[in-house]
Symmetry: D2
Amino acid sequence: MRFFSDNAAAACPAVLAAIAGANRIDTAYDGDSWSQRLNGALSTLFEAEVEALWVSTGTAANSLALAALCPSYGSVVCHRDAHIQVDECGAPEFYTGGAKLLLADGEGAKLTPEAVEALLATIRDDVHQVQPAALSITNATEYGLVYTPDETAALGALCKERRLGFHLDGARFANAVASLGCTPAELSWKAGVDALSFGFVKNGGLSAECLLFFTPGLAAATHYRRKRGGHLLSKGRYLAAQILAMLEDDLWLRNARAANEAAARLAEAAGPHRLLLPVEANEMFIKVSPEEAAALRAQGFDFYDWGPGEARLVTSWDSAPADVDALAAAIRAL
Amino acid sequence: MRFFSDNAAAACPAVLAAIAGANRIDTAYDGDSWSQRLNGALSTLFEAEVEALWVSTGTAANSLALAALCPSYGSVVCHRDAHIQVDECGAPEFYTGGAKLLLADGEGAKLTPEAVEALLATIRDDVHQVQPAALSITNATEYGLVYTPDETAALGALCKERRLGFHLDGARFANAVASLGCTPAELSWKAGVDALSFGFVKNGGLSAECLLFFTPGLAAATHYRRKRGGHLLSKGRYLAAQILAMLEDDLWLRNARAANEAAARLAEAAGPHRLLLPVEANEMFIKVSPEEAAALRAQGFDFYDWGPGEARLVTSWDSAPADVDALAAAIRAL
Amino acid sequence: MRFFSDNAAAACPAVLAAIAGANRIDTAYDGDSWSQRLNGALSTLFEAEVEALWVSTGTAANSLALAALCPSYGSVVCHRDAHIQVDECGAPEFYTGGAKLLLADGEGAKLTPEAVEALLATIRDDVHQVQPAALSITNATEYGLVYTPDETAALGALCKERRLGFHLDGARFANAVASLGCTPAELSWKAGVDALSFGFVKNGGLSAECLLFFTPGLAAATHYRRKRGGHLLSKGRYLAAQILAMLEDDLWLRNARAANEAAARLAEAAGPHRLLLPVEANEMFIKVSPEEAAALRAQGFDFYDWGPGEARLVTSWDSAPADVDALAAAIRAL
Amino acid sequence: MRFFSDNAAAACPAVLAAIAGANRIDTAYDGDSWSQRLNGALSTLFEAEVEALWVSTGTAANSLALAALCPSYGSVVCHRDAHIQVDECGAPEFYTGGAKLLLADGEGAKLTPEAVEALLATIRDDVHQVQPAALSITNATEYGLVYTPDETAALGALCKERRLGFHLDGARFANAVASLGCTPAELSWKAGVDALSFGFVKNGGLSAECLLFFTPGLAAATHYRRKRGGHLLSKGRYLAAQILAMLEDDLWLRNARAANEAAARLAEAAGPHRLLLPVEANEMFIKVSPEEAAALRAQGFDFYDWGPGEARLVTSWDSAPADVDALAAAIRAL
């Protein structure tokens, strides 16, 4: 009963079926009929003209987005605990040609306009410092919090005022949308987002993530950068087909809801005194003593220790209800 | 009836089955049980201790290999028509941090020690020029020729003498092995090769290529570079499973033989006067007048024009015998 | 009696005097009064609004110019023997973030529109190849030939049509202007040049080169790139003062004329049968047997062997007339 | 009466004389007789075999040093206020190919082993994070504090244990040596330093800084990187001559002592209640109200505001005793 991470979950059946359905000869790279339908399908979902590129990893999506928004001599503002800072081995620096990440603080890996402004205020406007060129946030955050449309828009307004590109790492964008009950548009371009890494792998995909540009002109160079980064698969149809399958009948949203609901059940079991942060998506951070953690593990529940006396538990689209119930009961019984 | 390129072919059934077989929760990235078996499986095949990393594209494999063999201030000798020079949008430059490719000549994209030596002789040994650090060849070449073990070993000896790393772009390594009837070892480390991009996608894979290091010490940094390049998939088991499936019962070799045999049938039909180069693997380059090309296309055969009065036809593991026979007949009838 | 290279010559007295004259406390970097006068002084000389940045080397000027004109996923067309290709250890690749140099041919390191067009015709317009973004020529060329204003303008027209940035490596721009008797404007922006590396060091400077942008908007990012490359000296006034001194009373032109005239005297002595190329600036390439070369050296004349039976002799602003006469006589006497 | 920064000071007469003395034709780049004497002169001063390369800026020296010590996929630990982090526009990222700077804290921009260890403890040892490869400290620090030989050695021991390269940004190394009365060796290689940026420009030089490698093997690649960065001046002798002049009769030490003594006089005048930090080299940070600052400026003293109610005053080798006395009196009179 694994509650380590949603990125280790299985792929959902519709995704496997889509791969099988794409298994015939077609045009290579992204010239195939599946890839050609991506822009349309995502423009429909987002109620706007978007340009969509498939890639294999969220790290690739994030880094390509940042390379489109920030020159090598610029910098990207992000949270100190952002995935792009602590979990991508310098991929943003690699793809941007050496831009700097400027680290802001905020509870639960969540940024506020005030925190961003405070950081920007430390940067002198001269050639001796890399000038801020972009802001990147993660929604849902690395700690399972969500930015509302209004919170996102407040950051978007700041970006517009300060002439910063606005990137949204949406590895768990589906969980955020599901949590908030808003539209994808409200959490992205309507709030000023220029580029979105729309994650599918954590949400039931096999190997396809989608990089979306809402702002015209940003995608053109990215096609070259994707190829140059080795991310233009020759049989790209298998990636496009996965994404199309996830969009079909809002599978992406249903999967995310399932994961969120599982986390909510666990959160309720844990109770407010044990929660380190509110559970707003599919991640739960709790206080547990070493003995309690050992007790849970002894019952077959796997999860990450997060700090001394802390644990992270992540649900996913396929968390078995029985497992979730069993874990909830075990937490209650601690 | 498409004879454009083997990289547009379908994935073979065993590969799809392996993906389905890996579809359960497991450790993320390359901590899963499939990925953990890669080193062993490839060491067995190559009769030597090797380190193997899966990636999604041949471009990623090639670029990571070159980054391991050549510093940013060095250069890589390759053929003027090498895939790394003309088809990867500067990925080698990107991954090496700006190394230079030095271009040598040779019939059919094939290099000889003499051609390499002649190129090296033009480089002054001073800090004003990027010094050669590696040699990269492609076997089978971009024009469907093969290097024999002896030819490879001659280049390997040159590399050793000149202290160059030796990279083999094996996008069609299987076709070369199948064509020559030698062992994988004879075409690689026994001939002095340090790093091999072992291609599976053109040969029936879906999205998995394998980067192999024969020389100890080269793989360590590559693990970081792979992550940094955005090529460490979180559900890596789906890539490892593909490779393991291709190795099972020498599927890789059987697929390559099928493609080569189809090409041989076409070559026989074309006859020596029409062939621009010998057909030694699964690619055929022929002279065809515009009228002849149009006639073939009118019968439903698709292929690339290569130059004025020239065409490229590529067979693959799943070229239907009936299609091949029909094309052979059509060529004979020109 | 050294005829190795003009880049080893002494600095001229006016340059040393200017350095001494700038030797007082002032604002650091390029905030001083000398640096602040550069744009004006060069705008006057070039009869147009230009932005000028001092740097310490021609390699820095060239690389910064190319980084302004070519993205990392683009390519720069240049001659196979261009300094940026063979003498800068990959600095253009470093500063552009890994762009590729595409090499064209032409007698005496001189490009023609036809040669450039022929090269461009080999580049497919797809994401698999780095797309041409800039053209770089050297005037006077690495082999001492000059491009006339018309020849330059023909290349400029091609650049405009093909949407290429146009860079001029003017390490010996002064010698070209002196040779042609035209204006600096005619050899640069009037002919479509976007960026010029205006060389002073080979022409009597000590350590100052000037990077000029004729096209608005290109300089802004270059200020950051210059700093980032470590080329923003804290006591920049000593560089600006050198350049201003060279512009004073057309010292740059007088120095270049002196060097050119010395080369012309040598060329006359050598005679057409001995010259490998016309002598149009301050470099002479001649046929000399090993015995003849040895004879010249025995008389105290130093120069580079260039190839079997070939030598390069370079004059400079301070080539002593007596030395030149002696060498001319020695050549005649061979 | 400028107390802005030592990097705006004049060059000292011996340096100008050395430049004049080098003003004759010689071998280009670093083949001249001055450059050839650098290794010897610095090996003598440092009582060890060192390899020395001149460059034009401290930023170049620092970045080249870090590129020698840290791979692109690694990281450099430094203080949050280090010059390499806040004043070089990302040059370390540029030269290393995108390494990350990891920022530690400490009073007065000074690091302790504890602070470094605490930072290292936050880095997981896996491929998702850039692994620490080097430590860089500045002595004297950006806030005018000095590391003693023992303090430096403690950090050096940590580097050895953790297998980190150890870089010392010595823009004001001379001031640190002068302040401590120790030998250059004690503050560098004897304390475990691998590479030192030995600054001369702030201390009376014109345009020459020196990059020193104490650890064999690090300099070789740096020669290529220097050229590739555009930092190999063709008339390098003018840089080497400056450094040799500064070493002559310990001019570097005498200049630094003069600057330190001037700062000490100012510190004494300011008194402990006004000093934000001890004055250990040639920088003083004091509390001053806006009115007090205005009063000083009205008397002709220029300096930087540092924060609200704070000012930075920097003395240099040529701070006129009369100016220093006048400023000391003015501070006393506040």
